[in-house]
Symmetry: C2
Subunit: 505 residues, 2 copies
């Protein structure tokens, strides 16, 4: 019933995943009772429409031969995934609870377990495995060992003949990153041209794909907006599975789930996926599974604020940064320029047990002085400061596209004689991991004059700016206008930062 299942199965059909066999337990019971109350579609017909081969096993309770035949048939179909619909009785064998929703969510209970044992003619103690069953299954142990030995021998031979390819495969199986991979990351100077971080992200992806054999991914039908195409690769399709640009279609939730599967399949596979940042709402459940399952998925989320302009409030994220900062085991990264984008990719690749979300701008941003890959790795760091003795008059804090605004405000304030520190807080989670001494060196407790600016909800910023500081942000939905105009209308300007700073110091 879940929409994500249809998204994923539609792609499985499109890709012709012949090795995929799904069993559908057609027991007609859901938690609320008979599925008839909410689910009367023809699942067979739907899956045929999705391009699957469909087999119906009518007696799933005792039709062992039927089940075996279905599996055999499914294996023989090589160009399509197969759905084996197995009609069963839920709680089969239980004399009083079979075929009812009460079997779904709770245990049978001792009495009904006894009755079921009798009914099924199962005279053994709990957890007893009869010898003939054990013997039947045990034959798989030597079989498996032989298969493993055979594979290992084959791989050894392969390694001799195809050194490079074998190393690549090994790297994907073990997850060990190729030595010096991070040297591929592009670097920038303040003289490098201004650019949108979504474009800088594409430069990083295209640099990394040359050194990371397991990097692959794509977008939910926004590749040319998210800037995710890998230029040296073609499309991953049924006939070209060696290519690395995955076309997910408009299926965000399925996309996230598929990337979780890829990430968890082999430690060296590094899937990325992309859409507009606001559409993380469509795939939030998959992102939470990345976090819970410790799956290194890189979420390339562009159009990360009202700065995206004319598409308006339906497309403009407001609460999304806050909502992911609150989610455990997710790295929320909002780079401000080229060096920070490279830093974000470095962190995302190195964090093997954590998904990363990169929030990237649609609009052009200048390359800032003081940003660095090393700084990004600490989550928050000083990009400029004209104070001495760790005692500035005011600390201005920005992330992503608003770091530029903080920098401009600092320039003005310094002209007026103020000692101003500018901090980039690209990732709150990484900053939280730092030592107390480092945190104090960035945000000295004595300095309570703090102004933050971020084109999103101020929710959560209270902790950073403190009771005496000021958080500039957006606590309402956005509006449709070009980026420059909307920033002014919403008060996200150097002037606003300067005014707030002056009130505090």
């Amino acid at each position: 019933m879940e929409g994500i299942a249809n998204e994923a199965c539609s792609l499985a059909g499109h890709w012709g995943l012949g090795k995929l066999i799904a069993f559908y337990d057609d027991n007609h019971i859901s938690i609320d009772g008979d599925t008839e109350i909410a689910f009367t579609e023809s699942v067979d017909k739907r899956f045929e429409g999705l391009g699957w081969h469909v087999i119906w096993v009518k007696n799933g309770n005792t039709g062992y031969d039927e089940i075996r035949a279905a599996i055999k048939e499914a294996k023989a179909v090589k160009d399509k995934p197969t759905l084996i619909k197995v009609t069963t009785t839920i709680g089969y064998g239980s004399p009083n609870k079979a075929n009812s929703y009460s079997v779904h969510g709770s245990a049978l209970g001792a009495k009904e377990v006894d009755a079921t044992r009798k009914n099924l003619g199962w005279p053994y103690e709990p957890f007893h495995v009869p010898e003939d069953v054990k013997g039947h299954w045990s034959r798989h142990v030597p079989q498996g060992a032989a298969l493993e030995a055979e594979w290992n021998a084959k791989f050894s031979a392969y390694e001799k003949n195809y050194k490079e390819e074998a190393a690549e495969l090994k790297s994907i199986i073990t997850g060990e990153l190729p030595a010096g991979w991070e040297k591929a990351l592009p670097t920038y100077t303040p003289e490098s041209p201004a650019d949108a971080t979504r474009n800088l992200s594409q430069q990083n992806l295209n640099a990394l794909v040359k050194v990371l054999p397991g990097l692959l991914g794509g977008s939910a039908d926004l590749a040319s907006s998210n800037m995710t195409l890998l230029k040296m690769f073609g499309d991953f399709q049924k006939e070209t599975p060696e290519e690395r640009n995955v076309r997910f279609g408009v299926r965000e939730h399925g996309m996230g789930a598929i990337c979780n599967g890829i990430a968890l399949h082999s430690p060296g596979l590094i899937p990325y996926c992309a859409t507009f940042f606001v559409f993380t709402d469509y795939m939030r459940a998959a992102i939470r599974i990345s976090a819970l399952s410790q799956a290194r998925v890189i979420y390339v989320m562009t159009h990360d604020s009202i700065g995206l302009g004319e598409d308006g409030p339906t497309h403009q994220p407001i609460e999304h940064l806050a909502s992911f900062r609150a989610m455990p085991n997710v790295l929320m990264l909002r780079p401000a320029d080229g060096n920070e984008t490279a830093g974000a990719y470095k962190v995302a690749v190195l964090k093997r047990k954590t998904p990363s979300i990169l929030a990237l701008s649609r609009q052009k941003l200048p390359q800032l002085a003081g940003t660095s890959i090393e700084g990004v790795q600490k989550g928050g760091y000083i990009i400029s400061d004209n104070s001495s003795g760790n005692n500035p008059d005011v600390i201005l804090i920005g992330t992503g596209s608003e770091l530029e605004i903080a920098v401009k405000a600092a320039d003005e304030l310094r002209k007026e004689g103020k000692a101003v520190r500018v901090v980039s807080l690209i990732s709150w989670e990484l900053f939280d991991e730092q030592s107390d001494a480092y945190k104090e060196s960035v945000f000295p407790s004595a300095v309570t004059a703090r102004v933050s600016i971020e084109a999103g909800s101020t929710f959560g910023w209270g902790k950073i700016v403190g009771s005496k500081g000021k958080a500039i942000g957006i606590d309402r939905f956005g509006a449709s206008a070009p980026a420059g105009r909307i920033y002014k209308e919403f008060g996200l300007t150097p002037e606003a930062v300067i005014a707030a700073a002056k009130e505090l110091c």
Copy 2:
């Protein structure tokens, strides 16, 4: 392609919505190019599987008679929704851009507009409507006026003969609530039996449905866990559309979207929908649409914390309260007992332009002294205080199931001679709406000794407890254990609150 479309269309088929006609613009182009790259399923077959009547108009560009015939046929099918698949050329008429993705996301441009006009033989100025076209359409104005007059006359007659039914219909059309409706809300005393707020929620729903003709809703296959069944009604089904228990199936996203449609259809319709709080992740995009569209949907979200117990981290919300507090125009309510649950429903019904999310416990909670419907309407309020002069030694703040823990800690601290205030912060948004004077009366700025306790992320609490206070919460994923045990393991206890309070005062 989006999963939500399949969820909603599966329900439309199940309900046999014969009046629903959907046009599917089968132009084979998506933003990333030809749909062939990601979407090769048979949409016709899928929709037939979903129980729809499907018609294919092969020439959607100029086949006017074909289109007319399709609409006529669709109208004649009364027991099924109809999908009219209309094969078209995107940008039809544009000589250089037709049939390409470049028509999807950007304007044709002046030159191509000219070429298109010439190609289509359209000699008029921009925005000119030729007289014969105007005349053709204008005939609908008197037709419409006549139909309206006819309906009004019919309704007047109906009103005379069916006074009660007509009043009910009027209330739904205008949105005016029946006088005294709020008297139906149940009230509780500290002597009332302890109960889970999900059960108290069901008492409220069943009380309100007797006085609110537009209240209807249901759960995504968790009715008996969410406690959402209306006892005096049967199931809303194809043959029983007068009933009010809606069975959404396991389709959270579709459920939210359907409730948005119901809420926006008539101001007097008050839809509610339910699932486990953690599964708001599946329907977050629909909840954001409620907020953006100012749709009064009541989200009944049970199993609202680690207190749900054995289902474990996949089912235990952590970041969800914070994530909705950050979302504009959403009321996030977490009632602690019966009076607060009634207050939450009162607020949810009264807030005509705002969706409300009720986070409700699975576990039993005592009825607390000092809670009230009036208090809830302020979002945050004092439930007990043994200080004088608005100057307690410490303020303990709780929400929902943890308010009880704050109360217990206060009892102990008072025994030791401390002046302790306990505040219930059931809704941050409502509290934000209060006057500065009221806020100061609840949280005096001079009192910096503040301890909050909530079984969720501490993200955002910094603003409430201030730099000197302490927020007790959970900043990691949960674990599987009975509620009592897991609360202890995670340090959500009166002892932890007492210890934190003692450090501060």
